[in-house]
């Protein structure tokens, strides 16, 4: 509907502003004709250059207002459209999101319906969609501001809030933002397109309509010619685009190869090894000794203990007046302890957040983190280096506290006694409490009643805190060795990496080309390695194309004899009527989509071959079985190279047979007749005369068949096993994969874990394939041309 409206609008604009100029220009022409009429017959025939000038003028008159009006019209129209288009796109995005997450409700709902859904149906969200959306946006906002803080403080990006990494909320938010961007993009695109369309239509209409009649045909023909010529340029543009995209991504592959950390043992020259061996080990050791991320692990527990201690102290302060002294002293002691504790360093909230994020990552710090945070970390860790003081402080606090408690208890009892003695109110609880209230009128009633309890609890807290400290110390002692080992491992890896970086900084030719050495190798190991010893990201092109050539060989072994013989029968031995049936039948074979062949191979030919092998294993003569067992063959699985190659051969038969037949048919008849007249038989004339005369054509056809077999994907994809790894085996009964299947796997397969290297690799393989087929094709063209030159 909207599209229709848009088109209608444009049509109106174009119509109005091309009819106008038409009228103008015809009037001009009439006026000019009138004026010219009296002057010269030559001008009246339009042989001067004036009409062209007026034609161009009229075109400008037509196009400019058309464009302007289109701009204005769309400017009014687009903002109204924006909302609906955006919602449309968001709806689509939602649908895919929901589809991906399989929430269990209808993915075909619109955005508005989604907002209206009752919360009960949104088990995942747990609230109404509107709330959820708002909450999502809130979370996303928080996340973004946190991320901004990280960026502002120049912290490493690994410290970015986790909502940026995982978390559905931001995904969702991302989706919305992206959808909005897409929608806006689309609006802008459509605006531009509409303007361009308006301009083109205006141009064509006015040039066809408003140019004086007698010039119209010439202009029409010229325009048509230009259009035809540009159509023929499309082929070359396609080829250029093909080569450029593939080449560009191949260059990406090269860059990837030059910069990527290959992992595993680096094969560095000696000078490079010497160079990075000088890296200071003690520095790293110092880091590892200083930073124990495990210290932060029981952060919460320790913090809560301290908080409780605070509360106790505050309560105590609130209670006593006569115990004020001791409380004061113990508070000071506590303060000392707290100040010495690593958990009360007066950290800023950012620093605390950083610590939390470190904790969330399991306490793992990157080396860069450590380096950047070194000042901060040293400040953090300094108190830990005074463990003895801390212990002593604790000890003092404890003894003081015990003494103070006893003292306070004694004082209190004494005080009570004195009060009782003075007032003589023995055994009367009410009066006692009244006395309390009188005496401690300014203090907290409840606290005073629970003083004993509080003191006990305080002791308990202190002992708890003590235990926590001891536990932490123990843990630290255990962990420190492990941590140092980890840091050393990290250091070793870093050393490797740094060596590579170092290696990279020196623009040595070896650095520039080592990827090439890897590329032309038999190693194929896409993706990162699981352990440090394994190689990773090795893309050996020989391994990749091994399967292509193996399966191609099988297919040619099948296709060449069959195709040649079929062509020989059709061209030499068959009647005309039979030929009229046989040729289309062979063409049917060529017209069948390759994926059908794939299924034929997997579900019909493979079981047949399999059962044939089983029969052979069971029922043949002993010595054949011995040979069979001696051969490195296994019992064939359902997917095997042999079957894929065979069926690909079937597919190639018509290519070979038809080219062969054409080549045989175009051998000059005089040659065949001459051979026959000399007494040769049909087969002799075929093999000794015609065949050689037709050889270039036949070879050309075979080259085409080879390029076809190299580029074939689906048969192998379905029938030979779409394994992600290259298989270097001579066994035709094993699974096999080809270069094209590696591409198809990367984009059509389920797994997506191999990283960007494989994307580049796919394009690189594509480039190699393109070059291979181009060379083969040029060779075929060359051969066929030579053939033509000789016999025509």
């Amino acid at each position: 509907m909207t599209l229709l409206f848009q088109i209608l609008l444009l049509a109106v604009v174009v119509a109005v502003f091309t009819v106008g100029p038409y009228l103008v220009s015809t009037k001009l022409a009439i006026a000019r004709g009138k004026s010219i009429q009296g002057m010269s017959g030559r001008n009246a025939l339009g042989l001067t250059s004036e009409p062209r000038f007026y034609g161009l003028l009229s075109i400008f008159v037509a196009v400019l207002p058309a464009v302007l009006i289109a701009l204005v019209g769309l400017g009014v129209y687009v903002p109204q459209q924006e909302k609906s288009v955006t919602e449309d796109v968001i709806t689509k995005r939602l649908q895919t999101q929901i589809g991906e997450n399989a929430f269990g409700f209808d993915p075909n709902i619109t955005f508005q319906e989604f907002l209206d859904l009752p919360s009960a149906q949104l088990g995942f969200f747990g609230s109404t969609p509107q709330n959820q959306l708002n909450a999502t946006l809130q979370v996303a906002d928080d996340c973004v501001s946190q991320a901004a803080k990280v960026m502002a403080n120049n912290w490493p990006l690994e410290l970015a809030p986790p909502c940026l990494e995982d978390g559905f909320a931001l995904n969702f938010f991302d989706g919305l933002v992206e959808a909005r961007l897409i929608a806006e993009d689309r609006i802008i695109n459509r605006t531009y397109l509409a303007i361009i369309l308006a301009a083109i239509i205006g141009f064509i209409c006015s040039s066809l309509v408003s140019v004086p009649r007698f010039r119209a045909r010439e202009i029409q023909e010229k325009t048509t010619l230009v259009l035809l010529g540009s159509a023929s340029l499309v082929a070359i543009a396609a080829m250029v685009a093909l080569i450029l995209t593939l080449l560009g991504n191949t260059l990406g592959f090269v860059r990837f190869g030059q910069t990527y950390d290959y992992g595993g043992p680096l094969r560095l020259p000696d000078w490079a090894q010497r160079a990075y061996a000088n890296i200071d080990m003690s520095e790293v050791n110092r880091w590892s000794a200083k930073v124990e991320p495990s210290d932060f692990i029981d952060f919460d527990a320790a913090n809560s203990i301290i908080l409780n201690g605070h509360l106790v102290i505050e309560e105590t302060i609130g209670i006593d007046d006569f115990g004020e002294e001791f409380v004061q002293s113990s508070r000071e002691k506590w303060q000392v302890m707290l100040n010495d504790s690593p958990f009360n360093l007066g950290l800023t909230s950012d620093q605390l957040k950083f610590l939390e994020s470190v904790k969330r990552r399991g306490g793992r710090l990157q080396e860069e983190d450590i380096r950047r945070l070194l000042p901060f970390a040293s400040e953090l860790i300094e108190p830990l280096l005074h463990n003895d003081d801390y212990e002593r402080a604790l000890e003092i606090a404890k003894t003081n506290l015990a003494a103070a408690t006893n003292e306070a208890r004694a004082k209190y009892q004494e005080f009570i006694k004195r009060q009782i003695d003075e007032k003589g109110l023995e055994g009367n609880a009410n009066t006692l409490s009244g006395a309390y209230l009188n005496i401690y009128g300014h203090s907290n009633e409840i606290g005073s009643l629970n003083k004993e309890l509080v003191l006990n609890e305080m002791e308990q807290r202190v002992s708890e805190s003590d235990e926590a400290f001891a536990r932490r110390k123990r843990a630290r002692e255990n962990l420190i060795d492990e941590e140092i080992a980890r840091a050393q491992r990290k250091y070793a890896r870093e050393q490797n990496r740094r060596a590579f970086v170092y290696f990279q900084d020196l623009s040595d030719s070896q650095r520039r080309w080592h990827w090439l050495r890897d590329f032309f190798s038999w190693d194929y190991k896409p993706g990162a390695a699981n352990s440090a010893e394994e190689p990773s990201h090795r893309f050996g092109v020989l391994a990749i194309f091994y399967g292509t050539f193996a399966i191609g060989l099988i297919s040619l072994i099948v296709a060449v004899p069959l195709g040649l013989l079929a062509a020989i029968y059709v061209s030499q031995f068959s009647s005309r009527r039979f030929r009229a049936i046989a040729k289309p039948t062979l063409e049917i074979l060529a017209g069948i989509p390759t994926i059908v062949y794939g299924y034929f191979a997997l579900l019909a030919v493979a079981p047949f071959v399999q059962s044939g092998f089983m029969f052979f294993e069971q029922h043949s003569v002993q010595w054949i079985r011995d040979i069979y067992n001696w051969l490195p063959l296994e019992t064939p699985a359902r997917r095997m190279a042999l079957v894929a190659g065979m069926v690909m051969g079937f597919m190639l038969i018509p290519f070979i047979s038809s080219t062969t037949e054409d080549a045989l048919a175009s051998v000059p008849k005089g040659m065949t007749d001459g051979a026959l007249a000399l007494g040769s038989t049909k087969s002799e004339s075929l093999f000794r005369v015609q065949f050689f005369a037709a050889l270039p054509g036949i070879v050309g056809g075979m080259l085409l068949a080879i390029s076809r077999s190299i580029g074939e994907t689906m048969i192998v994809f379905v029938a030979a096993g779409a394994t992600p790894n290259a298989i270097l085996t001579l066994n035709p009964l094993a699974q096999q994969t080809t270069a094209t299947v590696i591409i198809a796997n990367r984009f059509g397969g389920a797994e997506d874990s191999e990283g960007t290297g494989v994307v580049y690799l796919a394009f690189t393989i594509g480039f190699v394939l393109l070059m291979l087929t181009l060379v083969l094709n040029l060779a075929a063209i060359y051969v066929v041309r030579r053939f033509r030159a000789r016999y025509e």
């Binding site: 080829m239 995209t245 593939l246 579900l603 390029s707 994809f717």
Partner: protein, 488 residues
């Protein structure tokens, strides 16, 4: 001497006979090769037709359904569950639909069809009254049986809901309704085994409970089960939670859309460049060199592996052209697939249209020039109509190639798309859709041990093959007819 001559003659004749026998041998061998090729073709078609035979029909049963008094019973929320990452979550059979099915099959207070109704005691040993005492609350055993009966059929709940929404006066009435059997029940009823890809088989209906098998056996005995043509295969979307119902509607739609794009893009461009190269292209100098490069390029374009076109499409149409293109050229969209396929079809159309234009007798052009036509008029009014059948043949062959092309569509991700039908005209060009050939490989993923899915795959192959082969036949028919008319 004469003896010697005769000997020589006989020797020679023996040699000639030997030489002739090579001829015979060659004829026999090459003829049998041709026979072998024919055998392959027959085997292929036989395999396809045999593999698809299960999908032609599906089982149905017509029952009298009593619509309940309250339409609101069915309004129990959306029930669609997607199949994501190969994980199949069977749709819950709604209680209301279950009850209706059970009522229809076993009989209820106001509906009783003696033709269909099964005796509940005969089936289960549970008393009829237990089943009908719904208001009191079903005994657990009966509830289980009700659920099991419900699982035998495809949930008609959405249908009832739609009917009610359209016509609320249906409440309380009784109407005949064709209940479709669920996948497992269908397989059991039609006696097909689930075949695993590695060749091992399963007993039919092994996923059904003994009670369910008993119910189905009774239904077969009473001759109530009908087998109907599975037309919904052509219109339904996939995946469906019930595999019986999954179809290739969107795939057909997308393939047709892509064909439309191929026609719109590569027909004008191909025929235009054919005309240019044949009639206008300069042959000398720099421009002549450029012409020969274009010609070689067209030749090369024809031999580029199709998957490489897919890579190019991915890089240009999906990644680079996104911001300046009118459509959202995302992954797996028909617009991108169509553009890729039209680039692939281009060389075929150029080459065939050039051949067709070349085949026009020069006398035609000369006559046109003779009556004062310009070159352009000659070409567009005389040569092109004459060459039209030849061009049409080339276009049809190119389209037939394009519709069966799989690899580039795999690269742009069409193999992974899961969709429902698109009903919004042009916007379908921007939706992620599978095409026919990629639908084949999509069904393959779900083939694990299920002959239903294998047959779906083969049926898609049949649809594809029949389109491709009929296009090829049409092309060769046109070619033959034109050749005959021009000879005669």
């Amino acid at each position: 001497m004469s003896n010697f001559g005769a000997l020589k003659l006989s020797k020679r004749s023996a040699r000639v006979a030997r030489r002739r026998s090579v001829d015979r041998l060659l004829a026999i061998v090459s003829g049998s090769v041709l026979g072998f090729v024919a055998l392959i073709l027959v085997a292929l078609f036989w395999d396809v037709i045999d593999g698809a035979k299960m999908g032609w029909k599906r089982a149905e049963i017509t029952v009298e359904i009593s619509y309940p008094d309250e339409p609101v019973l069915y309004n129990s929320g959306p029930t669609f569950v997607t199949e994501s990452a190969g994980l199949l979550r069977p749709r819950e059979v709604r209680v209301e639909s279950r009850r209706i099915i059970r009522d229809a099959l076993i009989g209820n207070r106001n509906v009783y069809d003696p033709q269909i109704v099964l005796s509940i005691e005969e089936l289960t040993g549970v008393k009829q009254s237990d089943f009908n005492s719904r208001s009191v609350g079903l005994p657990p055993v009966a509830a289980t049986y009700e659920g099991q009966i419900g699982q035998l059929f495809i949930d008609p709940g959405p249908y009832f809901k739609a009917r009610f929404e359209a016509n609320p006066s249906l409440a309380g009435t009784t109407k005949p309704y064709s209940l479709a059997f669920s996948t497992d029940a269908d397989s059991y009823l039609r006696g097909f085994r689930s075949i695993l890809v590695d060749g091992s088989g399963k007993i039919p209906g092994s996923r059904l409970s003994p009670f369910q098998r008993l119910v189905l056996d009774r239904l077969i005995e009473r001759n109530n089960v009908r087998k109907v043509w599975n037309w919904s295969f052509l219109s339904n979307a996939y995946p469906q939670s019930q595999r019986v119902l999954s179809g290739i509607g969107p795939a057909i739609q997308a393939s047709l859309l892509m064909m439309l794009i191929v026609i719109l893009v590569s027909l004008p461009v191909g025929v235009g460049s054919g005309i240019f190269l044949e009639f206008f292209a300069p042959r000398r100098g720099f421009w002549g060199w450029l012409t020969s490069i274009i010609e070689i390029n067209i030749n090369n374009l024809a031999s580029v592996p199709s998957i490489v076109f897919g890579l190019m499409g991915l890089a240009i149409f999906v990644q680079a052209w996104g911001p300046i293109f009118i459509f959202d050229t995302g992954l797996a969209t028909p617009i991108v697939g169509g553009l890729i396929l039209s680039l692939m079809t281009l060389p075929t159309i150029v080459v065939t249209s050039r051949a067709a234009l070349l085949a026009v007798p020069p006398s035609f052009q000369q006559a046109a020039y003779g009556i004062g036509a310009s070159k352009m008029q000659t070409i567009f009014r005389f040569v092109l109509p004459y060459a039209f059948p030849g061009i049409l043949t080339g276009v049809i062959i190119g389209l037939a190639q394009a519709i069966g092309e799989t690899a580039p569509l795999v690269v742009i991700g069409m193999v992974a798309a899961e969709v429902t039908m698109c009903r919004e005209g042009l916007l379908c060009l921007e939706d992620q859709t599978p095409a026919l050939p990629t639908a084949i490989s999509y069904f393959r993923r779900f083939m694990d041990g299920d002959q239903q899915m294998v047959s779906r795959s083969y049926m898609t192959i049949i649809v594809l093959l029949s389109i491709v082969l009929s296009m090829n036949a049409l092309a060769s028919n046109i070619r033959g007819r034109v050749a005959r008319s021009r000879q005669g």
